[in-house]
């Protein structure tokens, strides 16, 4: 009886349903088109036009901008650095996140507090955290170099933000520091959904802790691992704040990644066409990543 009532109610709604749906979606879709799709289309336009100092289109040049950018060795260095940045940061975030998750998965008193404290870098405001790090890295008054000196790790610690390699290390560490808590939390909640019985029967068989990790923990969280590393890769590739606030891409663009270079080309050098070319290339790289990510989402959907 109940089953008969529901379908009629549904059928009655069906006629107006689609129209209502489009109406409800309209404002959101208009905004997405106005503030995301249209700007992206315009970026593509800028990449095939010569632009003036404000980013207005001047004359059509075809692929000339692409050729100009791609024949510049610096572009390839920056692209390579971006990919290296993403790969290195995501691996270290995954590794550190896994260690923290494993530590938090052990029961002890104060575990909840430890968990809360580990989240702090994620909970804090990213630009402000990066500013704090820039003071930590201060060669003369910063506590990092002081620690390195008094512990004897390095008698002559680097001027972190002053040189290409140390600047890159300093920036990537801050990016890792920001991203680790998310990884740790996601891994932890995955681990906590693994039934205890699996570990208990492994204990009966005299399996070591490391084997338990390889054969029980890791396979159980593999899907979570995939999604979170993909998500992290997108965020890491797109991280503007760590590099821009710490080094500004300097000295002389040696710590720039694509994202900071796009920004500087547009707003510092007023070369919007060059920036647009790099943005289009970035767009392709990110879309490739997003498609993989979206597939995972839709697997969940169906």
């Amino acid at each position: 009886m109940v089953n008969e009532g529901a379908p009629t109610a549904k059928r009655r709604l069906l006629t107006r349903e689609a129209r209502l749906a489009y109406l409800l979606l309209l404002p959101a879709v208009v905004c997405v088109f106005g503030f995301m799709v249209y700007p992206l289309v315009y970026v593509v336009m800028m990449s095939i036009f010569r632009t003036n100092r404000l980013g207005w289109l001047q004359n059509f040049v075809g692929l000339a901008n692409f050729i100009e950018v791609m024949s510049d060795l610096e572009f390839w260095r920056i692209t390579g650095r971006s990919l290296f940045w993403t790969l290195l940061a995501v691996s270290l975030k995954t590794f550190l996140g896994m260690i923290i998750a494993l530590l938090l998965n052990v029961e002890y008193r104060g575990r909840k507090i430890a968990r809360m404290l580990f989240i702090a870098p994620w909970a804090s405001s990213v630009p402000i955290s990066v500013l704090l790090w820039s003071w930590v890295y201060n060669p003369q008054f910063g506590l990092l170099n002081h620690t390195l000196r008094i512990t004897g790790i390095s008698a002559n610690p680097p001027i972190w933000l002053g040189y290409p390699i140390s600047g890159f290390i300093a920036a990537i560490w801050v990016d890792i520091w920001i991203g680790v808590p998310f990884m740790a939390l996601v891994f932890l909640s995955g681990m906590q959904s693994i039934p205890d019985e699996l570990y208990e029967s492994a204990d009966l068989d005299g399996v070591t802790g490391f084997q338990k990790f390889i054969y029980i923990t890791l396979p159980s969280i593999v899907r979570i691992l995939q999604i979170s590393t993909l998500l992290s890769a997108l965020w890491t590739f797109n991280d503007f704040n760590s590099i821009y606030i710490l080094t500004g891409g300097g000295p002389v663009n040696t710590t720039d990644i694509l994202i900071t270079s796009i920004y500087k080309n547009a707003f510092v050098y007023a070369r919007f066409d060059r920036a647009a070319v790099m943005a289009v290339i970035t767009f392709f790289i990110l879309t490739a990543l997003s498609v993989v990510y979206a597939r995972h989402y839709f697997k969940e959907e169906s």
């Binding site: 315009y42 970026v43 938090l104 704090l132 008054f141 997003s290 979206a294």
Partner: protein, 283 residues
């Protein structure tokens, strides 16, 4: 029951090591916050000493008074609050209807809409900002709160719609149908039945948008020149550039700027993890 003692033995052996490692990692992860706190409690004379001191010899709370007069801090706070509140309100206005449509209604292109909202979430704001700058200049949205409110709302929208539609979906259809049969209109049903049930989801998305807008830096950097319109992130960044010698004040301001979002973040963090990984994790 044989495994019980064995397991606890492993644990009692492993525990000190676990605690030690946890403590060591916590020291590393919390280091900048330690630096912030130890810096904000000292006078400028104690900031610029070599070798640097871990703890100030004469701790003081003076910076908490000084920072308001030496800085436009009150103005930055006001800007951040206006932008963050405006963005979360606008975000809700746009996301609730869209999320409801995706969760409850059958229509052609539902999958496409879902895909659209998901994919735009991945775009780097930098890519958008280089062409939006010209548009904003033309619409007189540079140096305006409205511009930042809109752009922050739109950039959080994808995530909000995802999270909210998940919440709407988890509400049994029967509840809605019962309301229809009782003669309620869809509008009444949504307002009086669905939204109250989905309240935790609404709170989470609102707070998420608030935090994201409060912490936003790139749009502010690109669109705001006027000192009086600067949000906290940009204000503090510019402060470092201009008066690099007042770190005791900067850390004090940083502390004040971080506290509101820190508190809000801890309210929603559990649900955030589940939302971001799309149900692969139950937060």
């Amino acid at each position: 029951m044989k495994f019980r003692p064995r397991r606890s033995k492993w644990r009692s052996r492993g525990k000190p090591l676990v605690l030690l490692l946890t403590l060591a990692l916590l020291l590393v992860m919390l280091f900048p916050f330690f630096v912030m706190i130890t810096m904000m409690l000292r006078s400028s004379q104690e900031v610029y000493v070599t070798p640097p001191r871990w703890i100030p010899h004469a701790p003081t709370l003076r910076n908490f008074a000084l920072v308001w007069s030496q800085y436009l801090l009150a103005g930055y706070f006001k800007s951040s609050a206006i932008i963050a509140i405006g963005a979360s309100a606008l975000n809700m206005l746009l996301s609730i209807p869209a999320a409801y449509a995706i969760a409850r209604l059958r229509f052609k292109g539902r999958q496409v809409a879902l895909y659209l909202f998901l994919v735009v979430q991945m775009f780097s704001p930098v890519v958008v900002v280089i062409s939006l700058f010209k548009t904003f200049a033309r619409l007189n949205l540079l140096d305006s709160y409205i511009g930042l409110i809109v752009i922050n709302a739109v950039f959080s929208m994808a995530f909000s719609i995802w999270l909210l539609s998940g919440y709407f979906k988890s509400i049994p259809v029967e509840i809605e149908e019962a309301a229809f049969i009782d003669g309620a209109t869809r509008w009444q049903t949504v307002i009086q039945v669905i939204l109250p049930i989905a309240a935790p989801g609404l709170v989470t998305t609102t707070i998420y948008t608030f935090i994201a807008a409060w912490n936003e830096f790139l749009f502010a950097l690109s669109f705001i020149q006027n000192q009086t319109k600067m949000p906290l992130t940009l204000g503090l960044y510019r402060f470092v550039g201009r008066w690099s010698s007042q770190w005791e004040l900067l850390t004090t301001a940083a502390f004040l700027a971080i506290i509101p979002v820190l508190v809000l973040f801890y309210v929603i963090q559990q649900r955030l993890v589940g939302g971001l990984t799309g149900g692969a994790v139950k937060g």
